[in-house]
Symmetry: C2
Subunit: 251 residues, 2 copies
């Protein structure tokens, strides 16, 4: 049985303030909770008895059998799904050696949680395991974003950092890519299986402070070149096309 206080605690995790204080986040639904178990320390599992019977091997600090009615009261979803879990927020150091060894992403104030969740799925699909986010980027532990990642959160590490300072700390030889409307056609540029690809804010693109550290300015060309068209692509769409092109070269 779920106490009033426990319901209040779970629902409070909608707000960043409480997630930060408690260093935890909420995930809901059997698919997502199953994907995240084993990757994050689980503080609390609250589920219908049928879910617990089907998953006798799963463990958490606290496990509570609840009724459908309690689930509805605790859940942040429109359609609550059998189980919800509270996981510890991991702390990953922002190691400037990482982009020397592998291809990473950086997000400069991407603000929409849906875009951020979609970008995690793209990174996961293309084997990119580290994303460096400016402090103005949406919080990936926002429940809307957690749900939108569809489990990619288990395989992609998000490092919040002072992005310009972080880029400044990199070895100068590391390629730092960024998309600009006046960049060079990505299809004719040398790409790399190391370094960082920086994607900018939905409205403003990459900030001038961050763009100082970009040494390879690229562009996704429209078709036919120079034709009247939409002014830009959504940031998640641009991320997908850029990551696909980087990985295509490696095949």
């Amino acid at each position: 049985m779920l106490s009033k206080n426990k319901i209040k605690y779970i629902r409070s995790l909608e707000l960043k303030k409480f997630r930060k204080e408690e260093k935890v986040f909420l995930a809901e639904g059997p698919k997502l909770v199953g994907d995240l178990m084993g990757h994050f320390a689980c503080r609390l599992l609250a589920a219908l008895p049928s879910w617990f019977s089907a998953h006798p091997d799963l463990r958490a600090d606290e496990m509570i059998e609840i009724t459908a009615e309690e689930l509805t009261r605790a859940s942040l979803l429109k359609h609550p799904q059998e189980v919800l879990a509270v996981f510890e927020i991991p702390e990953y150091p922002s190691d400037p050696k990482l982009p020397e060894q592998t291809l990473c992403l950086a997000l400069d104030d991407v603000q929409d949680p849906g875009n951020l969740g979609t970008i995690l799925r793209i990174a996961d699909w293309f084997g990119i395991h580290d994303i460096f986010c400016s402090c103005g980027t949406a919080d990936v532990y926002n429940p809307k974003c957690v749900q939108a990642t569809m489990g990619a959160l288990a395989r992609v590490r998000i490092h919040y950092c002072q992005l310009p300072e972080f880029l400044h700390s990199l070895n100068r030889e590391i390629p730092v890519f960024g998309t600009f409307l006046d960049g060079e056609n990505i299809y004719s540029q040398p790409l790399s299986d190391r370094g960082i690809i920086v994607m900018g804010n939905e409205g403003n693109g990459i900030s001038s402070e961050t763009s100082r550290f970009i040494n390879q300015r690229i562009l996704i060309p429209n078709y036919p070149a120079g034709c009247e068209t939409s002014e830009s692509l959504n940031v998640a769409i641009a991320t997908a096309i850029v990551c696909a092109e980087f990985r295509r070269r490696m095949l």
Copy 2:
């Protein structure tokens, strides 16, 4: 001044039933209204006096100066923006000759208006001017979708049709591409600047009825191949990567 009846009429366009009866749709904001003017017959323009002063050349069947308060009452947006317009819904015939001449998209029950709007922007970016949509696809004239297209609606024609019947009516030599998790690696397949690319529903992919007409089954490979990853890409993301690859080959 905007009568109560007119406000009711404008707000009713949130519902497909009324859009269908009246054969009109609603667009809001100076950027979007400006993009659509000249492409669609404008039945009604309702705007602040400042907007009319700045656009003395724009014409509609009915033009009404309104106050900020009237705008707020008529608008479907959280943050109303100076102007709203009611345009006629165009009727485009579903000509089976089109895919013989140009590259088209087809959507098989894409249900999220946000995804549909994003796909229009992608099509516009890549110079694809015709999208054939199954009857189960979201309505592009849904105000949420209209706003999400960001003007691409002016340059991309949406043809609602019985999609399997339409595909069946095509010349057999027309390439009909579709993405499947067991398709062939897109990067090693011959592509084309004519034909149709079919994209499927968010949860179920391409229906079995439609897939009978697909003669080129393609796949966006993940990286590294065969690694544990997200199970699929969002439909708008997949559309973007596929369209980019088709156009990359034509450059």
